[in-house]
């Protein structure tokens, strides 16, 4: 049984897992972080998107053991339970960028990856970046608006060197 050590939302974690354990299973079933959703389990829907060393990946499509020594960021790591929301979460809330909410954690993690690479994406770039995230409520228009608002909220902060 592989023993793995990694950082999850800034906390050092060591776990003994069956070799077959997926990263999403480690997060949800071993650590209790159920904000990351397991949707299709076939790398299509993107609900399980988390960041691995700063880049969006589908946690249903990597073994937990592959994250050895890596830094994982999940939706729970974006803001404190009682604190203000992350600007991308805030924008999704204000723009009604969610309906049932199942796809939302993945949408938000992919959006943060996008805005870290392209701070002011145009609509085409947003749609392309979110290609691997499906919303079965089909609420895409408001998701696009939310990403646009989030870009506007994050950009002045980036300009100040934050």
């Amino acid at each position: 049984m592989p023993s793995i050590s990694l950082s999850i939302n800034g906390q050092a974690v060591t776990a003994e897992v069956d070799a077959r354990t997926l990263l999403v299973q480690l997060l949800r079933e071993h650590i209790g972080l159920t904000g990351t959703h397991q949707g299709c389990d076939t790398a299509q829907c993107g609900a399980c998107t988390v960041h691995l060393d700063g880049r969006a990946i589908k946690s249903c499509s990597i073994l937990a053991a592959q994250a050895q020594g890596c830094s994982v960021l999940t939706i729970e790591g974006l803001s404190d339970a009682d604190g203000p929301l992350h600007p991308v979460q805030q924008a999704f809330s204000e723009q009604h960028g969610l309906q049932c909410g199942f796809c939302t954690p993945g949408m938000i993690m992919t959006t943060i990856d996008l805005l870290s690479r392209i701070p002011s994406p145009d609509e085409g770039e947003i749609r392309e970046a979110l290609e691997g995230n499906l919303c079965r409520c089909t609420g895409y228009q408001n998701i696009i608006k939310a990403v646009q608002q989030a870009a506007g909220m994050l950009e002045p902060a980036a300009g100040r060197g934050a």
């Binding site: 070799a19 077959r20 997926l22 076939t42 990597i62 073994l63 050895q68 992919t110 990856d113 290609e131």
Partner: protein
């Protein structure tokens, strides 16, 4: 997934040694392998993870070629300023594989070793006359790819890197299968020192060169020289997504678009 033993290799030599024992498979990014294992379409006693082998990662800029380490992610190739400057068609191809999340995990070595008949990378290797450097030898792309999911790799042999000669100009155009994002048909066109080369993926049982199109392009490297050419559908695949005739029609159409794009870059 059936149970397996997981090993994380620290070096290429260690990985090759561990792969030589039993029904072991190499795990690169896992974006194809793990999905196949979940569906129980693939079964191994042992997975040897290559993720910790630093020597397999990175892009080296040589005088007349680019050497890309086997564990270099698609996203890294797409974003590399060296690749974008020297072989922009290759960066664009990498930027069009799967989706963002898949590109952040998937690797060039994994894609090339898997040789999916609709994968993008094999067409770039064949059109650019790339060399596959393995743990034992160096092979030209033409000798490396051996048909439907087939490669010349032997047991316990791993891809170390892929070396792409820099062409005069090149472009890749794919007609995307929208659900899988693989190529329904993809055509990589290159104008190289040795003449024009046209490689087709998604057409049939594996990547191949369209030599009739190459001859036309050797006379004049223009989109017009491909217009009206008919490609025979005989060896192409028919499935629920497209008939062999449709795929045959796409090949010169996409090739002429690729030539236009190559000339515009």
């Amino acid at each position: 997934m059936y149970a397996f033993e997981y090993l994380r290799a620290g070096s290429l030599d260690e990985a090759c040694a561990r792969l030589g024992e039993g029904s072991a498979r190499a795990l690169a990014g896992g974006q194809t392998l793990l999905g196949a294992m979940k569906l129980r379409m693939s079964q191994s006693d042992r997975l040897v993870d290559l993720g910790g082998i630093a020597e397999l990662r990175g892009i080296e800029d040589r005088t007349s070629s680019l050497v890309i380490g086997a564990m270099t992610r698609h996203a890294e190739v797409a974003a590399s300023s060296r690749v974008r400057e020297r072989i922009p068609a290759l960066a664009a191809l990498a930027a069009g594989i799967g989706d963002v999340q898949v590109r952040n995990m998937g690797t060039i070595g994994g894609s090339v070793a898997n040789n999916d008949p609709a994968a993008c990378y094999p067409s770039a290797l064949l059109a650019l006359d790339a060399t596959v450097h393995t743990s034992r030898r160096s092979l030209q792309a033409e000798a490396f790819f051996t048909g439907f999911y087939g490669t010349a790799l032997k047991e316990g042999e791993l891809i170390r890197s892929v070396e792409f000669p820099v062409p005069r100009r090149a472009a890749y155009v794919k007609f995307r299968q929208p659900a899988s994002r693989f190529a329904l048909v993809g055509v990589f066109v290159a104008q190289t020192a040795g003449g024009a080369r046209v490689a087709v993926t998604g057409g049939g049982a594996g990547v191949f060169r369209a030599t009739a199109l190459e001859s036309s392009l050797d006379q004049a490297f223009t989109a017009d020289s491909l217009r009206g050419l008919r490609f025979p559908p005989d060896d192409l695949a028919s499935d629920l997504h497209a008939s062999a005739e449709y795929r045959a029609h796409l090949i010169p159409v996409l090739a002429s678009r690729a030539v236009e794009q190559a000339l515009a870059d």
